[in-house]
């Protein structure tokens, strides 16, 4: 779209009166050519007086008017008398629209908003500490509201709880089942390759069962729930925050944490252990396929070996773990949502932050559990 056609002709003598005749269209498309010509004009002619004759201009838009203003400014800077002649009424109007002061007005906000390294470290530290403070504050409120809800169960919004149980649990089951099934299949397959060498095929069953029930089942389920539902909670509450819906709740006398966070937390606590159970079952089924098809075990032996390997303590530990994971995922999702200020971008950041923090905490909590369980077993 650049329009480089010669945009004006010049009449006059060097160091004397110079008249400029812009031709045709003076506007946005050839503004660059025009602006670059300003300097050449003054160095080449160094006029004692400059007149612009608009008689041959067919079209002038505000960008064209901008060129004339810039020309006048340049002439003013060199103290050369400047005049525009033969401007039509329309052209005068357009030129009057250009606010000369605005062109050179300094920005009211700093151009560079980036910080140097020391400021960045300080900023990040303050943000990190504030984040921890806010999370603790939120947890405190949430626990308070949970205790309140448990003592007044009729005040819980059970319809919401059930709807979130469906969203987190029922809708999440297919993906949890598929991933767990494949995971069981892979674990069995990889370990079978090694165990075959020692004729220890039969231990594939115990390996899959113990590995899933103790560690992988709760973790995989928690990560999937964090990705599916933790992010959804953050996005939902974040958007409500942007649309002032949370403010509306407060104004109407509701406690937003009790109203929005408690049902989500309860739903997660109810369904994540169940999902974890499904995850274990599907992984064992995956392992069984490898055992039956690849290792010539019978279904009966595989199931029996699996039952022998699973002890009640591991099952209970897995359930407790998944409840703790569920609580953290829901709480972090909601907290990140409530923290949203601003617009669409902030909602995106909150969603990302909810998933990343949840997965990080899942790993930290799991490590803690590993140590505690080791000592109490």
């Amino acid at each position: 779209m650049p329009d480089n056609t010669v945009a004006f002709s010049v009449k006059g003598d060097k160091n004397g009166d110079v008249t400029l005749f812009p031709l045709g269209r003076i506007g946005l498309t050839n503004l660059d050519t025009l602006l670059s010509e300003i300097k050449t004009l003054f160095t080449e002619y160094s006029p004692s007086q400059l007149t612009v004759d608009l008689a041959k201009v067919e079209y002038l838009d505000s960008a064209g008017a901008l060129f004339l203003v810039e020309l006048e400014d340049e002439a003013g800077a060199r103290s050369i008398p400047f005049a525009v002649i033969n401007a039509s009424g329309n052209e005068k109007e357009i030129m009057s629209l250009v606010d000369r002061e605005a062109l050179h007005a300094p920005s009211l906000a700093p151009t560079e908003r980036s910080l140097n390294i020391i400021e960045q470290i300080g900023d990040e530290t303050i943000n990190g500490l504030r984040d921890i403070y806010e999370v603790i504050l939120f947890w405190g409120e949430l626990i308070f509201e949970m205790v309140f809800s448990i003592r007044h169960p009729w005040k819980i919004r059970w319809n919401d709880v059930i709807s979130y149980m469906k969203k987190v649990g029922v809708d999440g089951l297919p993906i949890v089942a598929l991933i767990s099934f494949l995971l069981g299949l892979i674990i069995a397959f990889m370990s079978a390759l090694q165990l075959k060498q020692f004729g220890a095929n039969i231990y594939v069953a115990s390996l899959v069962a113990v590995g899933m029930v103790r560690e992988l089942g709760p973790i995989i389920t928690a990560i999937i729930v964090a990705g599916r539902s933790g992010s959804a909670f953050a996005a939902e509450i974040g958007t409500m925050q942007v649309n002032e819906e949370v403010d509306a709740l407060i104004t109407m006398g509701f406690n937003p944490i009790r109203f929005l966070a408690v049902p989500k937390l309860l739903a997660c606590i109810f369904v994540v252990p169940i999902l974890t159970g499904f995850s274990n079952i599907f992984a064992i089924m995956g392992g069984m396929i490898v055992g039956v098809v690849g290792l010539n075990l019978t279904i009966f032996t595989y199931v029996q070996k699996t039952m022998d390997a699973i002890v009640m303590f591991d099952v209970m530990a897995g359930i407790v773990k998944s409840i703790v994971f569920a609580a953290f995922i829901a709480a972090i999702g909601c907290q990140r949502g409530f923290k949203v200020r601003g617009g669409a971008e902030a909602v995106g950041n909150a969603t990302t932050s909810a998933v990343v923090s949840s997965i990080f905490l899942i790993v930290v909590i799991d490590s803690t559990f590993a140590i505690i369980l080791h000592y109490i077993q």
Binding site: M1, P2, G27, L28, T29, L31, D32, L35, D61, S62, A63, L66, E70, N90, E93, I94, S96, L97, V98, D99, E101, A102, L103, H104, A105, P106, S107, L108, A109, P110, T111, R113, G342, G343, A344, E345
Partner: protein, 255 residues
């Protein structure tokens, strides 16, 4: 540009969503350089009509011409080119929250022109000056008030020197003084640059202050019930609905 013919011509436009007819056989013309207002009560299809004119929606039947080009009959590529010649101010400004005001205004300049940084900087400053926001180029939209956001939206809509500017409820959600300022700004740009203005509004102040010509849509007839100068229509329209609208009177109930 065709200066003689109408800038926008709508012919037999019908909009239907399923069983529900919103607009039925609507035809009108908008001329070069005029301030044209589309008015009517809530739910009469004003915004729907605007969305069809700028090609955000496809009509069930009928034709829409912009500068003589039938927009219902061209491909996306041509439509995109045509859209660069029009600007639109959305109800809440629709500024991109992750960009500064300056970047919002410069966006189409960087995408659709080959201008240098310096020229673009000057244009941004000039446009912001026109809407009386000079100095705000490094602010983010979230740091501006509602009226300032609308003015920034106008500056962005004007960045490519459009021949037609569309406004969706420019005074919605603004205080009377701020909306009067926006009206004045629209008038100033129209008189200065000669940009054709198409405004959807039901704000009577705006209508009487700046409209050259108006069409009024009605929910019942699903079409235009009045066309012309609003001051004239207020006094002399033979349709009581039109008179009531312009005189802010509640419809008389039949006993």
């Amino acid at each position: 540009m065709n200066k003689q013919g109408p800038v926008i011509k709508v012919e037999g436009l019908t909009v239907r969503y399923g069983e529900n007819t919103i607009l039925d056989n609507v035809s009108f013309e908008i001329h070069q350089g005029e301030i044209f207002i589309i008015a009517g009560g809530s739910g009469c299809g004003k915004t729907t009509l605007l969305k069809h004119i700028i090609g955000l929606d496809t009509p069930s039947s009928g034709k829409i011409f912009i500068n003589g080009v039938d927009t219902t009959d061209i491909d996306e590529d041509e439509m995109r080119k045509l859209r660069r010649k029009i600007g639109m101010l959305f109800q809440s400004g629709a500024l991109f929250g992750s960009m500064t005001i300056g970047e919002n205004v410069a966006l189409s300049l960087t995408e659709f022109t080959d201008l240098s940084e310096k020229a673009m900087g000057l244009i941004v400053k000039m446009k912001l000056g026109m809407v009386e926001l000079s100095g705000y180029e490094n602010h983010f939209p979230s740091e501006l008030s509602g009226g300032m956001k609308k003015r920034a939206g106008i500056a962005r809509a004007m960045s490519l020197e459009p021949a037609v500017l569309f406004f969706d409820e420019p005074s919605a959600g603004l205080d009377p003084i701020t909306s009067a300022e926006i009206d004045l700004l629209i008038k100033k740009i129209n008189e200065g640059i000669g940009t054709t203005m198409v405004i959807v509004t039901h704000d009577l102040e705006t209508i009487f202050n700046i409209a050259h010509r108006i069409i009024m849509l009605d929910k019942g007839t699903k079409g235009i019930i009045a066309e012309g100068d609003p001051r004239e229509l207020k006094e002399h329209s033979d349709n009581p609905k039109v008179r009531n609208f312009f005189n802010r009177k509640i419809e008389e109930k039949k006993h």
